[in-house]
Amino acid sequence: MTVMDQVANIAYSLIIPVAVLFGFIMLNAAYLSYMERKVLAHMQARMGPMMTGWHGILQPIADGVKLFFKEDIIPAKADKWLFSLAPVLLLIMSIAAFVAIPFGPPTDFYGILSNKVPLWLTNLNVGILYVLALASVGTYGVIMAGWASNNKYSLLGGFRSAAQMISYEIPMAFAIITVVLLAGSLNLAEIVNAQSEKWFIIVLPVGPVAFLLYLISGVAETNRAPFDLPEAETELVAGFFTEYTGMRFAMFFMAEYANMVVISLLVSILFLGGWMPVQILPNTWLGGMPPVSWINGLFRLMPPVLWLLGKVYFLLFFFIWLRATLPRLRYDQLMAFSWKFLLPLSLATLLTTAVMKQMGLL
């Protein structure tokens, strides 16, 4: 193998995928803020950004430039090390989660490439555990930010966040184990493949319950409304990032959006069939009558990646919709909801799945 081959190999297997993925994450984070502002605006009978470019399409770039040139303030009495480290840690953890996520089956891009390439960076056998672990480490970023700012509002925000993330990780983990039981694998790609016949959300009776459990926990995990207590604007000013300015502030923002995307990707992969196209009806229904198979065939024409992203964006839209509609829970109500309702329910779901699986009913 020549040197050039090796270079090409590294480029193919590492540099290009990393560049594509990183570009996707960054652009996505920027334009999710645009999407959020636009969707919220239209739900609230207003227009949202309109001045920067066509319908404000350049707004995220203008925001980025602005934040980049903002003065970087570290409060005099803050713990400077932790204060600087916190947003970086949070952002790294949320971006690193993308490494293990498969975006589609191996593809040759309709014959453009000579051989099929996988649409993931690494196909970890324990992919789901890896993603969960990173989300937990990300919590440290929030707590560190709250602690290091030396501000009581930030501290309260950090405390809330620690309590909330720990409480909601447990029902979330149980919901995931339910899926793992159903799929028989911890590998995300195999979990998707296991849903080629039937998405896990419609596996009765446990599928819908586990889906809702995971969705609710996911919203809580990403600190989104109605569980946005750590940054409850009208109570704690901005919660754990009250003291942050400029790019550090932007990092918290990007991390939040990246986390939202990760959660949406996981929901799609675990419950909504990942990159599997929507099947209106089973192919065999009515003896495979032509209209049914035609429509299903039509759906299959769309590339799998787009199917996955479509589901992801629908879920993101759903998150924004929640924010426009629901009041915020109180701290103790939030905890009670997790420990007294979600946790028992998730345990029951898991148990039911295990029993039914053992009896061969699933």
């Binding site: 009208t234 924010r323 426009a324 009041p327 109180r330 103790d332």
Partner: protein, 577 residues
């Protein structure tokens, strides 16, 4: 001479303490000697046939240079018997002290602090006699008549340095004050608690309210509201304007419901002048006051929902409020500070488009109101956040002087519009919505229902709107119309005098009480016979209601404090004046 059964009873029990009994616009007024004040008030409160259980107002007038210089007024109301009584105490200049009545009426706390702050009358046995509106380091009492307007030097470029030096010597003792002092905590702060300041710059304090919270975890042990950040001396300013000019400063009190303030002030001055306004003016006043109520409640609903996390509601509410502001703009050319209701009637006649616009609003709004309720009333999270939060008993609320929706939500149907009708409110049929427990949710329900009732009042007023003049034709008070000025010499003189000097008002005092969106709004105007008032006292409902914040918050969580503030709906322009 028999004036009123109340006065007879009092004269019987306190023959040597009661003097100068009189009747003013239906209310008995008495003067009590200083040493018997507490006894008389206790008697008035506990005697079953009197039962004056609500202290509406406690204020002071400076009759400088009269020898017994100050008069302190206690305006009482009996919930059971629906009648009022004014108790006056004369306080000499050389010994400005009075006994505190906090133990009798809890609401006296802030009132007494305000009188101390503005007039320098000190109240014996007051637990916390500090300045409330003016800066702590001041040594002067600005509402005294011998204190000049603008007695405090304002910093401009040419004198800023000199003032800064002076201010440095002032601020030293202020800096040493810790939050513990503000909370009234003595000694060591309890282990494991933190003290956090909400405000004066905070997203959900409705302006510049500052609440010092002592927290254990997220549980509130104590909550001390601090006001005065927006004190602009409106009462002092009004003393230096003519009666008609002072209408414009009343706009700036409750800037969310400026027309209510105009109305209260105009009624007080008209009472002094003994002036009848024509029926058309009364109807227009009612329509505008109720539109204002809806506009104000819309702001309350929007901010309340926003503070509990429903982001969209504030925009929907502002969208509908915009329609009301458009009506005001159509009528007066101004959107907020209209000063449209003034002494003698209203400023101009209705515009041709006014009726159409109001009817359009009446047709559109009920549906919008339903959609707000769809979003909140049965929302599980909304219920969890507002039910059983900030509830106080009826007696506590009355003791603290709370009025308006905050009191009605606890089941006390006290509404000035029905108890002491003004502007012909007795000609309209409307219900006074009440709640049961007085929690934040009940306050929400009461205000939502009030908006519906207001719509009904506006509809009735629009249907019954009489033709005729829109302001009194007493040419000593109101401007003559253009044609008369062009033809009559006397009218020209009137016009000249009214514009250049204003109208003189007969000597005396008058109190007007109206139902503003936030509660009982009182204007106490005293005249010395000149074209400028001697004193304009504003009984701001928000100021009084805010005293209930501390007992409402105790034992709740931070998030509840936000909900409770929103439920009280204070407006800092009115609190700080």
């Amino acid at each position: 001479m028999f004036l009123s059964p109340v006065i007879s009873t009092l004269e019987e029990h306190f023959p040597d303490a009661i003097s100068e009994p009189e009747l003013r616009s239906g209310d008995p007024w008495i003067t009590v000697t200083r040493d018997r004040l507490a006894d008389v008030l206790t008697f008035l409160k506990i005697t079953p046939e009197l039962r004056y259980n609500l202290l509406i107002d406690l204020t002071c007038i400076d009759f400088h240079p009269h020898p017994s210089r100050f008069s302190v007024y206690y305006y009482l109301h009996s919930m059971e018997h629906e009648r009022k009584l004014m108790v006056r105490v004369r306080v000499p200049d050389d010994d400005p002290t009075l006994p505190s009545v906090i133990t009798i009426y809890g609401t006296a706390n802030w009132h007494e602090r305000e009188v101390f702050d503005q007039f320098g009358i000190s109240f014996r046995d007051h637990p916390d006699l500090r300045r409330i509106l003016n800066p702590d380091h001041w040594t002067v009492h600005p509402l005294r008549r011998d204190f000049p307007l603008g007695g405090e030097e304002v910093a401009f470029t040419h004198n800023a340095d000199a003032i800064a030096v002076q201010a440095d010597t002032w601020t030293e003792p202020v800096r040493e004050k810790t939050v513990q002092d503000y909370l009234g905590l003595t000694g060591e702060v309890k282990e494991g608690t933190i003290i956090i300041n909400i405000g004066p710059q905070h997203p959900s304090t409705h302006g510049v309210l500052r609440v010092a919270l002592q927290l254990e975890g997220e549980t509130v042990l104590r909550a001390m509201p601090h006001v005065g950040y927006l004190h602009t001396g409106i009462e002092k300013t009004a003393e230096n304007l003519t009666y008609q000019q002072a209408v414009t400063v009343t706009d700036r009190l409750d800037y969310v419901a400026p027309l209510s303030n105009n109305l209260g002030y105009a009624l007080a001055v008209e009472r002094l002048l003994n002036l009848e306004v024509p029926p058309r003016a009364d109807y227009v006043r009612v329509i505008l006051a109720e539109l204002t109520r809806i506009a104000s409640h819309l702001i309350w609903l929007g901010t309340h929902a926003f503070e509990l996390g429903v982001q969209s509601m504030i925009l929907y509410c502002f969208r509908e409020r915009e329609l009301i502001l458009d009506i005001f703009e159509e009528l007066s050319g101004v959107r907020m500070m209209t000063s449209f209701i003034n002494v003698g009637g209203v400023r101009t006649d209705l515009t041709p488009q006014f009726g159409k616009r109001v009817r359009e609003f009446l047709a559109l709004f009920p549906e919008k109101l339903d959609s707000y309720e769809d979003m909140l009333t049965n929302n599980k999270i909304w219920l969890k956040r507002t039910k059983d939060i900030g509830a106080l008993s009826q007696d506590t609320l009355i003791d603290l002087g709370v009025t308006g929706p905050a009191l009605r939500s606890a089941g006390v149907a006290f509404d000035v519009r029905t108890a002491y009708p003004y502007c012909g409110y007795n000609n309209f049929t409307f219900a006074v919505p009440t709640g049961t427990t007085g929690d934040v949710y009940d306050k929400y329900r009461v205000r939502m229902e009030e908006m519906r009732q207001s719509l009904g009042i506006i509809r009735q007023a629009m249907d019954g709107l009489p033709e005729g003049p829109f302001r009194s034709d007493d040419r000593k008070v109101t401007l003559p119309p253009r044609e008369e000025i062009e033809t009559g010499m006397e009218q020209l003189i009137h016009h000249f005098l009214l514009v250049s000097r204003g109208f003189p008002v007969p000597e005396g005092e008058a109190y007007s009480l109206i139902e503003s969106p936030r509660g009982a709004l009182g204007f106490f105007v005293s005249s010395d016979g000149t074209p400028m008032p001697r004193r304009v006292r504003v009984r701001a409902p928000s100021f009084v209601n805010l005293q209930a914040l501390e007992p409402m918050c105790r034992g709740g969580m931070i998030a509840d404090v936000i909900a409770i503030i929103a439920g009280i709906d204070p407006l800092m322009g009115e609190v700080d004046r």
